[in-house]
Subunit: 414 residues, 2 copies
Amino acid sequence: MTSTQSENGRMADPNYLATRSRSVPRRMILGPGPSSASPRVLRAMSQPIIGYLDPAFFEILEDVQSMLSRVFLTSQTTMTVAGAGSAGMEAGLSSLLERGDKAIICVNGFFCERQILMCERLGVEVVRVDAEYGRTVDPQLLEDALKANPDTKLVSAIHAETSAGVLQDIATLSGLAHDHGALFMTDVVTSLAGTSVEFDAWEVDYAYGGSQKCLAAPPGISPVAVSDRALEHVRNRKTLPSSWYLDLSLIANYWGPDHVHHHTTPVSMIYGLREALVLVEEEGLETRWLRHEKVAGALRAGLAALGLDSPVDPEHRLNQLTVVTLPEGVDDAELRSALLNEYSIEVGRGLGQFAGKVIRVGLMGESCVPANVFALLNALERILPRLGYEVPQGEAVAAASMTLADDPSPVAVV
Amino acid sequence: MTSTQSENGRMADPNYLATRSRSVPRRMILGPGPSSASPRVLRAMSQPIIGYLDPAFFEILEDVQSMLSRVFLTSQTTMTVAGAGSAGMEAGLSSLLERGDKAIICVNGFFCERQILMCERLGVEVVRVDAEYGRTVDPQLLEDALKANPDTKLVSAIHAETSAGVLQDIATLSGLAHDHGALFMTDVVTSLAGTSVEFDAWEVDYAYGGSQKCLAAPPGISPVAVSDRALEHVRNRKTLPSSWYLDLSLIANYWGPDHVHHHTTPVSMIYGLREALVLVEEEGLETRWLRHEKVAGALRAGLAALGLDSPVDPEHRLNQLTVVTLPEGVDDAELRSALLNEYSIEVGRGLGQFAGKVIRVGLMGESCVPANVFALLNALERILPRLGYEVPQGEAVAAASMTLADDPSPVAVV
């Protein structure tokens, strides 16, 4: 280091060491994700690092795979993509599609639009099948699109659209894709471990999840399932995928019995995911689904008592993510800011077609407990009148409480 | 869930809950990475999750950026790519290069070959400038290649080649690239915070590091620095980068003052990186560089006492990663297996041209302490004779100890 350069360094910088401590505020995070991580997951992540080619680490990978198989309900390949859910999304699109291929994207929310952005960058021709935000995609429209585009290589639809709060019937859409010779992929980032995801029964070829939602682990890793057919497809492409990092066949080679070196595995995140999956097994997968249903039901009862509605088709509402229509005159940013600053509660804003019109409330994994519902409803009862929307005091919390009182068992805090 | 599908689920699976506990073995990880994570970093990672759009989280991002600036010695943009070091590599290549562009890749090891694999997938024309493993790239050869290829858009060279154990003079190579109008990128995965990295002084346009080496954090995030010129280049491309997830301009928009939503940030990894950077500041950047130099010196003295050589040019040996030539007749896998199973010490195997001929010993970050050098030398003294290579007993440890005794101050355990 020369003397000139050292001016950028320690001696010349008066702020040196100034940033030593900063405490993370306690938040009740009820946004679209991340949700809270289980303390047990965080403790598991603090175990010492071992090498990603250590035989002892391979045993941990096998645990993760076997437990992921039970969460995805599949006997085919499970593994993780080393990045956010969007990395799982891009791994699927870039591995399953080649430049010049055609894909049908079912669009009923913001994250579907992200898939289209990715396809365009990959040189993939996109056919859209649209639904309004808050609605599911009409299978008839998908069938029409498949008939009009017999050269379609892949159909993609999102199981649980976090921007729109909608749950779709994936089995039907997947069946249509296969009837027309296309592969089928789905996004289960928000549904995995919180709602039935049946990879094999639905004949899905690729599904990607998130660690930070119903699995109650921190964000940064995307658990995925890949069908044998999809893996074969990736291995027999005419051209290699443009992304080396997100190539599903290379990732599968590392997770496979030969453990072929690819990139450095995020060891601590794998420890955390393993513990998160153990927690799912302890609770029981179906019990966990039921918990998400019951707690969401309590929230809905409370919101109804406040006179608040949702733009989402009642038949297809997501338990993990409730979209709430803002009453006339209530400002989105003011409401979210009051929740955060006065009650330390984070909720999500509207995206895309919903921007400025709704708030989005996530109840996922560790965050999906009655206490959080009560706290949020209580805060809304206090804040909304101040923002010009009068609500009865105490009724929302009572309504939520009555819903839960009917059946206390599935909503126990884990 | 239908009754048929539930056979895949909890009730029908006799192994349910079988995978509850598994302890991580204690290892001394002296491979090419990951290295051990500091307990303080692991503790920081166990803080509660908050949202990646929470104003309190933005303050943490600012801390990380300001401390990364001091580690990269830059006043330009610093941020992280949410993936392994290879994600940082691909983010650079895919953002800075367009399909049909020409790049010169300086090749002196396995990770340079990885850059070429990535370029080929991106449709980039590659010109190689080769050096043997263990040697640095001849600047004259780079200059010749630049003259022969005046349409070169980018030159890439690896600062610290982990496969080959070589440190290169980046300032010279970068200067040549700029003299010929090309951008310059470098890999500092193994050098960042362990050896002088001077982003601004060397006029680098893009550098990517790893969290899991000299920074003593777990793997899974890649700290990067981007020059203003490079960011402008990405923003003015004719076509969008094929990767949405690894697009440096989108990542920069999230880390910038507007915090534009991109993907979900790996919150816990950012907590960990922040604490890792605080540890660097507490130790002092130059002191940390010196620690890596001193501890590597002790290892070299011990290896010399064992009569073991290195294939790496003595003038350019990396402190963080020492390549050791295996004596005639000593089997690579047997040696590594004895180290792991009898002493719980992990070292790396040879890659590429070095496969089967060497072991690679990493001394990085938290793993870079005298105790680890003594333990490894002691184990080698015991194991090597059994594998057919006689060595004097006790001399290697003594030699290492004598080296350190000369100047105890910089090698204190932090």
